[in-house]
Amino acid sequence: MKSIRNACAVVVVAIALAACGASGKEVVEQFYTQVDKGEISVAIQALSPTTRRMMPEEKLRAVLSEQSRLMQKKGGLKTIQAEGTEKGEAGQYSVKLTFGDGSLQQERVKVAQVDGKWYIEK
């Protein structure tokens, strides 16, 4: 049992570490995908350390969980199209979300690099 637990831990940590090198665009796409799946704890890691430090963690989890529920109510996320640019340590994306019921949602997201890692910026 202990070895299974360790193996699972290895896989989880590996995935988390592998995600560390994601581009700004990938971070944005992963954020929406993870919220859609209800993986709120993982999604929150895409937000900049400043945002996470200044917001009550429970509050952030709760409001994103509510968004996840609303996304499922719309049939879940079907496609994500993120278009934009990264220049130096900052970037901006226009994101188009398409849901299972055919509805669309458009958002603008800023990204910034902190210590070599891309985050969604405030």
């Binding site: 929406y32 430090r53 969604i120």
Partner: protein, 200 residues
Amino acid sequence: MTVSDPGSRVARVVGAVVLAALVAAGARPPARPSINAALLRPGDLLFRTGDSAHSAAVVAAEGGGWSHVGIVVRSASGGLELIHASPAEAPGEFEGVRRESLEAFARHAYAIGAYRPQSETAAAFAAARAEHYLGRRFDAQLDADSDTELYCTELVAEAFRGSGLSLDPGRTHYSVPLLGRVSVISPNALAAMPALSRVL
């Protein structure tokens, strides 16, 4: 669901697996912080940093940051416990303002800090007032100005309202994808208020 091409990550994954195996072989969870109740009194604010691995990493990299807060109150047995507004942290737990032992609060913490209001009278007022909010639902919406549902820092601000000591540092504004512009009372802005001094 389709997303744009994420590119190859084979080398990164292999490296990560090797590193993770080393971590799994030798890593130990961080020790839970203990709370010295003898240093506390009703009305003190108890802050914590979450116990997720990521929170721990943020603390290590950036020197900390509080993610949650509760108010110390007197328990029925004469000891100390805490009232805080939180989603359920265990199956069957109430999602909202509830009492909890100091030990249970620390169980979800990577780091703990206690701050004392400069007015003992206001602190006693707030400790009593916090009981009034027991049973309110957790505020999972973005309506920060309503007290029908509360989140952690909002509970503190409300409990001290009318005490003669304001512990409302105002709202911090953030833009978060899917949420738009979010206005919340930041635990760190609260802890930084000059009306509080750290005791633990």
